[in-house]
Amino acid sequence: MSLLRVEDLGVSFVTRNGTHQAVKGVGFSVEEKQITAIIGESGSGKSVSCYALLGLIPSPPGRIDGGKAHFGSRDLLQLSESELRGIRGSDIAMIFQDPMTCLNPYLTIGEQLIEPLRIHQAMTRKDARLRAIELLDEVGIRSPEQTFDSFPHEFSGGMRQRVMIAMALINEPKLLIADEPTTALDVTIQAQILRLIADLQKHRDIGVLFISHDLAVVADIADQIVVMEKGEVVEAGKPDDIFNNPQHPYTRKLLAAIPSGEREDSTAERETLIKVRDLKTWFHPVGQEEPVKAVDDVSFNIERGEVLGLVGESGSGKSTLGRSIMRLAPITDGSIIFDGTDLSALEGNNLKQFRRRMQMIFQDPFASLNPRMTVYDTLAEPLLLHAICTRKNLDTHIAKLMDDVGLARNFIRKYPHEFSGGQRQRIAIGRALATQPEFIVADEPVSALDVTIQAQILDLLLALGKEHQLTMLFVSHDMAVIRHIADRVLVMYQGKVVETGPVKQVFDAPTQPYTQSLLASIPGAALTLQ
């Protein structure tokens, strides 16, 4: 007897532009004391399906078309709003993706924690407080009494997610729905929270419905995996079966998209293109005495033709380092010697000459393109600015760029908002290539993309790098991606480089404790053995 059994669920959204069927004929189950993971990319309907169970879909424009959701003896989809309210936060609890926005900043943590107790069990404030402090302790919060009386903004993402988990478990629910609970967290924190959820699940014998876009994340903890695409379930089964014997083409695509393998060791002798020496980029925010040492005394080389990976968590300074090299962030001290010239000393026109030779690709594919310029204009700008071509043969060059990045020439007059994330990133890559640079800084270029698109863009970057003999500094927080694409790697922590070396060496035999903990946090250890 399953804890939860969903059959033939359908959900549509009715808007001015028509009716969109977000979920169709979806069925899955969660067994008692087990973890079912639902995997899908954006638009797969994975979140919508679960929100529908608790009636959390806004009612215009959302609409449940049909289906059954058996929970115990009841069909959730047939319940009234007040009956559902009785279940929310007591029998079924939910935690969400972004812990930074999911807690009310105007109420204390304690006030929010005790609400489920007071609503569903009519507990007194005193008893509720004791219970809440117990829970905070159970989820690993070090000073539960103090935390109880504090406000959310005083805590980090990981801590807030722990609070969310405590809040969900406080009424001893039978089922926990977790909507991408670790996606917004740093990789080491993610590992901790996954561990916490898995432990709590075992201790309390609850069923968990775990939504994610990342197969690797659920590989370690799921008892059952359900794969969704475009509103339908395409495959379901045990992790072993899914990973070793995927049936559906989409599942295979998902598995193939997981970055794996490494670059072959390059035997070629490489000359040094860039030398970074004693680089410091410090910020002095208003009202703070201590400067923020984003990049603190960093030195390394970048060899011509290589892909150098730069890996670290949030606050490590990796983005600032990339920006500093590009002269987008103000350098406090140190030098950046590009092909013999110190960039840190250049200004104005001299700097402009060098800008031609180094370009950048940014993380957010929407924000990195001017929303009011067509693709044509965006690509023409660098071409004309650096006189790569004249107005007469502008079209030829633009056409070639479009072909290089795999975009149909037909789209040349369209605006950024008319494209998908992956396509926009291709446009951004095209813009970067326009000036025929020697060096490219790629700042988390695939982090905002769906995993199948990620793979395409990574392959594109590798191919283009080879074709145009590019040197690349690839910044990312994702170790698997780095391993897939980089020759050498730099590991950063709090503004300093803690380890460096060829990818194979660092990943197989890390010497520094931080690197070791980073590598240990990579989810999906089970997967990488395939």
Binding site: S42, N370, L394, N410, P416, R431, T435
Partner: protein, 299 residues
């Protein structure tokens, strides 16, 4: 963005599918908003009437008919006459010229000063920004209503001064809005991309910052005009704004209020004119805000 015909060019642009810019999307959204459209049309009609007034007003501005005196609306005088026998419709039309002119001109003054100030402060940043915005903060804290009353009393009778005084109040908020827009744009990645391409600061401001900052500016300008008109009417009502022989809606309303018991139409019609104009501007402004705020789809 022309594509000169030459052997090298492959008619790339001609063959490509037309894109839909954000302005076009906003225009479509605006058109669907009936109240905003109604407001826009009404405003346009009023503006045209105001411009053509000297030629199309039914009576002369000065024309009096002392025998007739104040009379209710009739076939000869659609909106009635005032105590001097002057046609109310004519008065309203001439008053509208003044009220609308003050509204638009003072707003234009505020726009010019405010946008430039805010753009410079926002783009340059650092100490320049700190100093410029400090000045705005201090001026903002001054109780302007009182100052304007004072100014008008002291220097009165001067329509030009009226424009300047009102403009001097409104430019501050405009500067703040522009600065915050420019600041946030400055940090956007496409501006960083432009910098890393090697574009000069002027080119960046012109091509990348200004077109994207226009949205809120347009909305706020449309909403400033009614606020300015209210201010003028307020001052004129107190006797501190437009002075006779010129007239404005505020002045007409104050006269009408004096004799409203016997001749209510003298109050109601100018009031209607003012209120309708304010409605139109506000609905249009709200509609623009809704239409322009949506940034376009994200994945």
């Amino acid at each position: 963005m022309s594509s000169p015909v030459s052997a090298d060019n492959q008619g790339l642009l001609d063959e490509a599918e037309q894109g839909s810019s954000l302005w076009q999307d906003a225009w479509i959204r605006l058109r669907k908003n009936r109240m905003a459209v109604a407001g826009g049309i009404t405003l346009l009609v009023f503006m045209v009437l105001a411009i053509l007034t000297p030629w199309i007003a039914p009576y002369g501005y000065e024309t009096q008919d002392l025998d007739l005196g104040a009379s209710a609306p009739s076939a000869a005088h659609w909106l009635g006459t005032d105590v001097f026998g002057r046609d109310v419709l004519t008065q309203i039309m001439y008053g509208g010229r003044v009220s609308l002119a003050v509204g638009f001109i003072a707003t234009a003054v505020a726009l010019l000063i405010g946008v430039t100030w805010g753009a410079v402060a926002g783009y340059v940043g650092g100490r320049v920004d700190a100093v410029m915005m400090r000045m705005v903060d201090i001026l903002y804290a001054l109780p302007f209503m009182i100052f304007i009353v004072l100014l008008m009393v002291v220097f009165g009778r001067n329509v030009l001064l009226l424009f300047l005084a009102i403009g001097a109040v409104e430019w501050l908020t405009m500067a703040r809005i522009m600065r915050s827009q420019v600041q946030s744009l400055r940090q956007q990645e496409f501006v960083e991309a432009a910098i890393s391409l090697g574009l000069s600061p002027t080119a960046i401001i012109r091509k990348h910052v200004v077109p994207n900052a226009l949205g809120p500016i347009i909305v706020y300008t449309t909403l400033t005009i009614p606020s300015v008109m209210l201010l003028e009417a307020f001052l004129s009502f107190l006797g501190l704004g437009i002075q006779p022989p010129q007239t404005s809606w505020g002045l007409l309303i104050s006269y009408g209020a004096e004799t409203m018991e016997e001749y209510p139409w003298l109050l109601i019609f100018p009031g209607l004119a003012l209120t309708t104009t304010l409605f139109s501007l506000n609905f249009l402004g709200d509609g623009l805000r809704d239409a322009l705020d949506v940034r376009g789809s994200k994945d």
